[in-house]
Symmetry: D2
Subunit: 350 residues, 4 copies
């Protein structure tokens, strides 16, 4: 069976390279075009950037000539976008208008009311927003977003609790990896031996994207979940993986044991379980008192599962726990690919 051709927008950056690695041998998708800024278009992939991942270099596509990032030069029915927010705002609608399904890691359209913001295990049904989007905007294709990396990990941890109990309040303090800032990103002089209590716009993104993702889809719109949320975001000298300290108020004030049971038994949306990029289980629950730990745990399952440990009583909200997830896999490239696989499984593309 032939695979669906895809274009990767922003293929030269850190997330773009992760798209290439994930898609070079994908069972459903086949890389047709790598696209980049006008500055890089016309160069080979190997000339245009330094490959930053493991072997094989450039996913074996070092000789592919980069195209311009537009539907005329690099058309495909499915597009993965690792563009920055500015270019994404302009380019992604051109593709959607031209009929492509755009799976975007950019923040540009995440909070648009007609754009699905997906964590498939948690809210696969939100993908139906794409129909609203096509109706409203006259797109033949659609734009489907994955959330901010910190919010993605948080939603993975919250979804089973929201489904089992209902969330009333959420507190989240993050300790985020440097890879989240892209490349060159954070100067070493800023972060070696340091903690930076500020990441621009990060707290706002977490606080607005999370309720949207855990919201209810009905009649073509998503009503955000009505819980209060506060995020406090930090950068720490860790290469990959966001650690999050989470406290939640849950309806009915369940015991830690009940919470552990809800997390342990959760498998997420059944349409997701068998997708090629889905992890064996969405949540890895740790029983050791000092786990999960980012350096030891975050690469498991190709970074697609999240990790929870230390579920315990919180004197303020009822339950607190340690949460961990992979910011550039589950929180970026892997997320978009999983979204596309979901869209395919649900008959939207292909």
């Amino acid at each position: 069976m032939s695979r669906i051709p895809v274009t990767i927008l922003g293929a030269t950056g850190v997330v773009g390279q992760k798209f290439v690695r994930r898609l070079k041998d994908h069972p459903l998708f086949e890389i047709r075009h790598l696209a980049a800024s006008d500055r890089s278009a016309g160069k080979t992939y190997a000339e245009a950037c330094a490959w930053r991942l493991d072997e094989p270099s450039y996913g074996g596509l070092g000789d592919l000539v980069l195209r311009g990032a537009n539907p005329g030069e690099a058309p495909a029915p499915v597009v993965f976008s690792a563009l920055d927010s500015g270019p994404a705002k302009e380019i992604e609608p051109l593709y959607a208008a031209a009929g492509s399904w755009v799976f975007s890691n950019a923040s540009a359209f995440r909070m648009e009311p007609d754009v699905p913001l997906l964590v498939p295990e948690a809210n696969a049904e939100h993908i139906a927003l794409a129909k609203t989007q096509q109706a409203t905007r006259g797109f033949k294709g659609a734009i489907v977003c994955n959330p901010n990396c910190t919010a993605t990990v948080l939603v993975m941890g919250l979804a089973p609790l929201h489904q089992a109990f209902g969330i009333e309040k959420v507190f989240m303090t993050s300790m985020q990896a440097i890879s989240g800032a892209g490349y060159p990103g954070v100067p070493a002089l800023d972060i070696v031996g340091n903690v930076i209590p500020f990441i621009r716009s990060e707290e706002e993104k977490v606080e607005e994207e999370t309720p949207k993702m855990l919201g209810t889809f009905a009649s073509g719109t998503v009503t955000p979940a009505p819980f209060a949320i506060s995020a406090l975001c930090h950068r720490v000298p860790v290469v990959e993986g966001h650690s999050e300290a989470v406290s939640v108020a849950l309806r009915g004030n369940p015991t830690p044991e009940a919470v552990i049971e809800a997390l342990k038994s959760w498998r997420g949306d059944p349409r997701v379980t068998t997708l090629p990029s889905a992890p064996p289980v969405p949540i890895r629950l740790h029983s050791a008192e000092n786990r999960p730990q980012v350096r030891l745990d975050v690469e498991r399952d190709g970074g697609m599962s999240v990790h929870i440990g230390r579920v315990r009583r919180c004197g303020l909200l009822g339950i607190k726990f340690a949460l961990l997830g992979h910011n550039t896999e589950r929180g970026a490239a892997g997320a978009s690919v999983l979204n596309a696989e979901l869209a395919h499984a649900m008959g939207y593309i292909g």
Copy 2:
């Protein structure tokens, strides 16, 4: 005027060395004895341990012969204790019974109802608990404790808000330095490139010590402050300095501007301001959006001030901010010395 002789218990450890450095040229106190475990007693200070601080080595006392840690072998009217909790439980009362004022960094007696748990700028009046202690226990001297390092920093940040508004709820997520675990302490294999979401007993200490410190002293006892508190503690790969992400519910729900003003104008207990180890101001308020940062800020004022920045709205409790303090100076050796200076200024010793 002659200085008061002091004994340092546990002089060979990290905190013990910091006591030596702080006391070798102190205007009020003069090191008379360095005391250590029986294993080390009889050796010179230089033989018994490796000096881990800057020059001069061993505070110039490398040739001093270590004494046994008991009032018979190493008597002094003022004692600074860097003992571990186990030995402290046994040895500190012997000194207090024999008439010494023991300023202890150990956790052994912190939560005893008749033992002052001091952060002098915040609760200098609690020192009067020593009289209750003397009456109850028949001590001629007394035991005065400084709190857990994380709790110390937190109380410094909360005290002005408790005094100005009244605290109703506190959320605190810490990112703590490796020096807090002593030496050898945390194995490098555990923490390099990592975040560990667990420090044994740390959350419990913060949650019980903080309300005691911010409690009310009357009629010989301290009534803990009645606020709810939740602490989530982490180890991060930072050498010195604890970063804390704090959210508070304050009575009357003041604006960030009002909170900033309360922090800025706070000078702490006036009896503390002129003590030799007191910092110029107890709180350094930062206006840069990404400060305080532990590597850049924590050594200021000899580590005796704490740092606050990013005072902003919290969607859950009302106010959140970034807090930073020095765990082995303000949170350990410097704290005990400041306590002793306070006791001296208030006429308890000397």
Copy 3:
């Protein structure tokens, strides 16, 4: 075909765990016993230690009851030893006398003239020393050592040059990972943000083991290679992987191009190429001007290949280059397993 039963000595430590991971699904060997100190014997593997590697925990052997480390309690025809040098000195000969082939990571017997010190790609023929050993010591089995981790990596880089040109002088400055010191090993307070220009006995080991390994086997003995060597060893804040800066004087003073060609074409001893743990190529040659880099390259090929880059003129010795290898895989557990595979392939065991 049935696999050969093996005992792992010192199974609870860092290297012991790596033995377990490498051997749990090995095509030739089957774990029969895990052995540990008397303190741990009788406990299950899971009770006796904390598993520090990735999943599955304890290699799936968490319920196996540990045996005492002696041929009576934990016999097997093949033994892998992750013992410390002291116990190794006593226990390994007991096994060899009892008929076991002991593949040891310990330093105890490395420099004994009748003990093979193997890097199979470089000196497979040295294994014949085992016959001398059996004759001399009356062993029915034998002790076969792998070298110090730093020396292993160095020999991998030097062997092709020694074979192609002949080495006259070697300069090696190492920047070594913290994992090389075991667990708990290096205290974080010592190494975070630091470089330590001293590792006990390391320079001596490199300087004496390297000439033995590159020496000539004839008439039942090994004559060390006659080159002069100087090693300068450092610990740096890296988790896994030793970086080495190497300069060599080669006979005939070849050009960098000739050296690169010699490295690139080298495949090592042909008897090694097809062994289960052998890497696809022994040396990965990098052309990027800033590679190899330990964090990016060291895990390739399961850590069994070494990496070389920046081959260039040295104003002093003629040629200098950057060398990198995995200290706990190629330099420890993987090395011993490869030695055993070689012994099996050459008909010594099984």
Copy 4:
């Protein structure tokens, strides 16, 4: 007595800020102008950059308006240059021609035969090259350079040995701090948990600057010292301070004891000892087997002394030792200021 007015070129960068900090209360010099690129000129110092050092911010000069970097807009008899090499090549001669003495940290003119490349303790007499320079180039002032940071530290360690014995060969492997690359400099993603075996042009600079500095001045020219040298440079995750592993062949092959004695007794050029920025002793000799260590030792003496330890036999060249120095103090800003103090003491300026 009135102080000599100075201009700081490139005041907004890391080294520029260190110039400001060193000169704001200097006994001989008084900051008259801060100069920067045209883009920054006209802004206040506080507007034009973020202060990256300790308090007081901007050396108290945050309100000073930046001038253009040329003798017309920012004239002064003494100029300190923290310019990049490109602008330095153009701007520094303009100042020298206009009569200023330019003390430059840039690499642009270091290897010009008529430009003094000073490490004052080692080669103060080279400053007389300035007269050759004035004669050749028609300058009324002069350009005086300090060397590359790595070379500076190396020359401090080699000078006493060259004077006592004569150096024949030098091997130097560096482990360099990230601050050496300026700001933003090295991306955190490149260096956290890593070692990079390449720093552009660094090995070449060390290999050509070192012999010039240790060369002989006579008849208006410097004849480079005739020893062979090889440098292997690495970046490691350390914030400040370059560690260097050094081996030397010395004439007469002295013992380690004789070398230690030569290092211990060396005080450097007597004209330097009393300069305001000179350290108490130029070399701090360590006896502990694992010192010097960059995190513990490099800030001593304001970073102006260098540290040596582990002097021992080298099997190849005769003597090897561990060397350490502060790359942005002794290797940059402090070096230029010390050069200017020397020029003043020798009557060249003021």
